[in-house]
Amino acid sequence: MLTKTLDISTSPHIRQGTSTDSIMQNVVWALLPVALFAIFSFGLSAFFVIATATIACVATEHVLCRMANKESTISDWSAVITGLLLGLTLPPSFPLWMTFCGGIIAIGLGKYTFGGLGYNVFNPALVGRAVLQAAFPVAITTWHPAFLADRFTSVAASIFTFPFMEPPAVDALTGATPLAAFKFDQITTSTSDLAFGVISGSTGETCAVLIILGGIYLVARKMMNWRIPVSILATVFLISGVLYLIDNQIYPSPVFMLFSGGLMLGAVFMATDMVASPITPVGVFVYGAIIGLLVVVIRIWGGLPEGVMYAILLANAISPHIDNMIRPRVYGTANTNDVS
C-alpha cells in the first residue's frame, strides 16, 4: 500500500528553523546591552524615554491590527525593536508625551501604512524620529549630561511636561554632543570617551563598543548583513580621512567621525533593516556607500551637526533603484546587464 504521497515543491528543500520571530528576538537581545548602558549612564530619564517609546510602538501595532480585524502581530517582536530603536535615538530628557507621539507615528506612518512588516520601505523608527525632529526641533536637540550623581533618584524636569504647558526654565545642566561641540565651537572629544560612551548624546548612541559587540553577535548568528555596516563605516572613514589629510584644521579626524553621533547605532541597527535595504551583495555595498557619503556631506557641509538619520532615510528611498539597476544574471542567460 502506498501510504505517503509524493510531495512536489520548489526549492529550497532544506530549511533552517529560523523564523522572523527568532531573528527579531535576537536583535532585541543585541539591543538590550545598549539600552542598559543608556539607563546606567543617563539614569531614570533614559529608562522612561526608552520604555515609553517601546510601549507606544507595541500598543499602536496592537490597536491598528485590531482595528483592521486582523490578528495582532505584536508577538513577532518587530514593534519592540522599532520602539527600542526610537527610544535609543532620542535625547534622555525628551518629554514623554512627545516620545509617545513618536512611537505612534513610527508604527502608524512608518510601518502600518505600507502594509506592516515586510513592506516598510523606510525604517519605521527613523520615520518617527524624523517627524519628531521636524515638529520639536528644540526639545530633540536639548542634550542632557551623562553620569550625573543623582541620575537614579531624580529625572530631568522636561520629561514630564505636557502639551500646551509652559516649558520649565531651561536646565542649567545641558551638555552639547561631541558633534555639536565640534561643529559650532571646534572642540574635539577624545576617542576613548567616544568609544566607551562617557559623553552626552541620544540615549543609545553614546557607547560605540557595546553597539559593535551587538552587531558582531548578530553577524555571527547570520542574522544581519555585515556588508551594510562595513561599507558605511569604510566610506565614512575613507572620505573623512582624505579630507583630514587635505586640511586637519577644518575637518575632523576620521576616527572622531566614526565614533561620534549616531553613526554606529545607525550603521549597525538601522541601515540593516532587512526590508528597506537592497537584496544583492553588490547592491548592499552601493547602498552603504551612499549612506556613508551622505553622512559626511551633511555633517561637514550641511547646516546640521548630525545627518545619519536623513542619510539612512534617503538611502532607503534609493534602495528600490539599486535593486533595479543591479540584477544578478539569471542562470543560463547571456551575461548582459540590460534592464529594459
Binding site: A68, L109, G110, Y112, T113, F114, G115, G116, Y119, V121, F122, V127, A130, V131, Q133, A134, L294, V297, I298, W301, G302, G303, L304, G307, M309, Y310, A311, L313, L314, A317, I318, P320, H321, N324
Partner: protein, 193 residues
Amino acid sequence: MTNESLSYIFINASLVNNFVLAYFLGICPFLGVSGKMETATKMGGAVTFVMLISSMCAYGIHQFLVAINAPFLQLISYIVVIASTVQLVEMFIKKMSPTLFRALGIFLPLITTNCAILGLALFQTNKGYGFVESFVYALGAGAGFTLALVLIAGLREQLNFADVPEVIKGTALTLLIAGILSLSFMGFAGLGA
C-alpha cells in the same frame, strides 16, 4: 543681481529647496505620472526642458518689461510665454515620439499651467538672477523635480506588491511617501552655503 555662486544655486534649487519636496510646487504631475519609472523619467525630462525654455524667456521678458517700465505686466506675460512654449514642446514631442506623447497624455498640457514653471520664473526674477544664474537655477530645479519623481516612482513600484490598507491605496499613499521623503530632504538644510 546676486553674488551667489553657481554651484550654490544648483544645489539650492535641486536639493535644499526642492520644488516638489520643499516648496510643494508641481504636485499634479508629481502625483499623476509617478506610478511608473519610465514615464516618471520622461516627465522629469519634459519638465526640465520646459523649465529651461521658460526661464530663458522669463529673463528676456523681464529685461524688456524693465526697459519699457511696465513691470505690472510681468505675471500675464510669463503665463502667455510659458503656455506657448509648452504648446511648442507638445508639437515637437508629438512629431518626434508619438509613444511618449501618448504616455504623457494629459500631463504635458498640464505643465502649461503648472505652478512649478511659473514659480521658477517668478523666483528667479525676485532673486535677481542674471542669464547664466537663471539657466543654472532652471537646470537645478528640473534636476530636483526629476529626482523627486524618480525616487517616488521606485518606491511606488515596490509598493505595488504590498498589503497596503484599502483606505490608503493610491493618491493617499503617494502623498504619505512624499511627506516622508520631504522630511528626509530636510537633512540637506544649509548645504552649499
